[in-house]
């Protein structure tokens, strides 16, 4: 199987490639449980983490993944760098690449930033979140968590609740899950749903207007973070009103009388999109998502580090 050296999004990624990444991630999860949770696989490779936007989980997760693979990693944060002096993205990365690096992990506030880098770099580019476009490794770790929890993806029902329009997590999840044969629904205030959602994702995507209906339908609910920084243009009357109508609460789960798995990409606005108590409850797999994040990112970095995937014939050296 020939796979791209970049990971820009899950849109258009083939089912076999996603399965391969998830399977490889399982092997890396085993590595993480060893007494010495580190393998020499990417020794000699240099990876730069370019974070132009605030991030705790994703940045630490990528950094840890790189260290567990024995790659050399360098962190770049836009504050305190020459970006503050007005250097363009292209100049910044071309200068960094001139220092002989193999891969770039980029988080950027502009949609398409990762794609732009592939146009001006030789190195492999991994998208760690670009604007409102995609966050593919989050989509993958969500799928890995679902697969672990349910033992399968095919035929599962997953509802994504929250601000769909602005969410790169939603976009990556919808594309990835639908490719893997999961039934996907979205639910959120009309002002935070894309206007023609069927045109964007196809007729199979369900839309629920009420969060209770979504909970009633779903095996798992992926609760999106309400991005407070993007809510300044009057799309929501107030946070309290959002919490009242779309907040996922224990009461709502009990009313649905169903075992529903709760996911959240973090950071949580406790008491807004997700009831604080529920986030720490037996329904929540939020911390499993974080653990799986490291394994999934190791798998992505390993598979994208060059070379072609082969089926082992077992009669080796």
């Amino acid at each position: 199987m020939i796979i791209s050296k970049h990971l820009l999004g899950l849109e258009g990624v083939r089912r076999e490639e996603i399965s391969l990444i998830l399977k490889t991630a399982q092997s890396f999860k085993e590595v993480l449980s060893r007494p010495i949770p580190k393998v020499p696989t990417l020794r000699g490779k240099t990876i730069v983490n370019l974070f132009f936007e605030a991030s705790t989980r994703t940045r630490i997760s990528f950094e840890l993944a790189e260290k567990r693979l024995s790659a050399d990693s360098i962190n770049f944060a836009s504050s305190g760098s020459s970006v503050a002096k007005g250097e363009t993205l292209k100049d910044t990365v071309r200068n960094i690449e001139a220092m002989k690096i193999d891969m770039v992990v980029i988080r950027h506030q502009a949609s398409g930033a990762a794609h732009f880098l592939t146009q001006c770099l030789e190195a492999g580019v991994i998208n760690a979140g670009d604007g409102q476009h995609e966050h593919p490794t989050q989509g993958l770790l969500d799928m890995m968590t679902l697969q672990e929890k349910f033992g399968r993806l095919q035929g599962l029902k997953v509802a994504i609740v929250g601000d769909i329009t602005h969410s790169r997590v939603a976009r990556s999840n919808i594309h990835g899950l639908m490719t893997m044969g999961v039934e996907v629904a979205v639910c959120g205030p009309a002002t935070l749903l894309p206007r023609d959602i069927a045109a964007a994702f196809g007729q199979d995507l369900l839309v629920f207007k009420k969060v209770d209906e979504a909970i009633q339908w779903a095996d798992a609910v992926n609760v999106l973070r309400l991005q407070l920084e993007r809510q300044k243009n009057g799309l929501l009357p107030s946070l309290r009103e959002y919490a009242l109508h779309f907040g996922v609460t224990r009461r709502r789960l009990e009313d649905a009388k169903r075992e529903v798995v709760i996911m959240h990409p973090g950071p949580i606005n406790r008491g807004v999109e997700l009831e604080s108590d529920l986030a720490d409850s037996e329904f929540s797999v939020i911390l499993d998502q974080v653990t799986n994040g490291v394994a999934v990112r190791m798998a992505v970095l390993y598979l994208k580090s060059g070379g072609e995937q082969e089926v082992m014939n077992g009669n080796g050296a």
Binding site: M1, I2, L20, K23, T24, Q26, S27, E30, V31, R34, P35, I36, K38, V39, P40, T41, L42, G44, K45, Y302, L303, S305, G306, G307, E308, Q309, E310, V311, M312, G314, N315, G316, A317
Partner: protein
């Protein structure tokens, strides 16, 4: 050059040059190895088996089957995937598919019997040793292989050998095991690279249509 390699994978035939073991002799060899392992270690106290995926695991399981009646208990078996420890990761175009490493015991103080089908350059064993060291500090590691075909590139040697075979670098040793391949046997084969133009055209069409040569 993945396209060219793809072509070769579709068109490569193998010529069997010799049958090194049939089902009966393979079975006899495994019996002898089992006895030697128990004899050398003065019993099976403290002994654990680790098979290198894929065929090393099957062989280790067969050895454990044979030791069970001798020692009156079943020795533990772990599986080891050495992909993450390979030294050709950054050089070759191909990446082997990763399988599951599973060592269901503590290695500290144990005698580890590492099992693989064919010992060749020694690089797989080097990787396996590195991997084992990350799991603990065994008292001793011993190596059992079905076939030693020479051409070592590292100072590594096996403690228990089914059969030593003189080979040339162009030849390959194919181990077939009942559980995986539906038959027991060991063959010395040689890839045939001379292709008829018709075969090449056929193979090229397959690759061009997007077929995956590795599957």
């Amino acid at each position: 050059m993945p396209i060219l390699e793809g072509l070769l994978m579709f068109t490569s035939d193998y010529k069997i040059k010799a049958v090194l073991m049939d089902d009966k002799s393979l079975n006899r060899t495994l019996s002898r190895l089992a006895h030697q392992i128990v004899e050398t270690n003065r019993g099976a106290e403290n002994l654990v088996f680790v098979g290198i995926l894929t065929r090393g695991v099957q062989l280790a399981e067969r050895l454990i089957d044979k030791i069970e009646p001798l020692e009156g208990r079943r020795l533990p078996l772990g599986t080891l995937d050495i992909t993450f420890y390979r030294d050709d990761m950054l050089r070759t175009l191909k990446k082997p598919r990763v399988q599951a490493t599973h060592l269901p015991f503590d290695l500290d103080g144990k005698v580890v019997m590492l099992v693989d089908d064919v010992l060749y350059t020694g690089r797989t064993i080097r990787a396996a040793l590195d991997a084992l060291m990350d799991f603990g500090r065994p008292a001793r590691i011993q190596l059992a292989v079905l076939i030693d075909r020479g051409h070592r590139e590292l100072p590594i040697k096996a403690d228990f050998i089914g059969q030593e075979v003189k080979t040339t670098a162009g030849e390959e040793v194919r181990v077939k095991l009942q559980h995986l391949d539906g038959e027991d046997g060991v063959y010395l084969v040689e890839p045939i690279h001379e292709k008829k133009p018709k075969d090449l055209v056929e193979a090229f069409t397959k690759v061009a249509k997007g077929a995956d040569p590795s599957e």
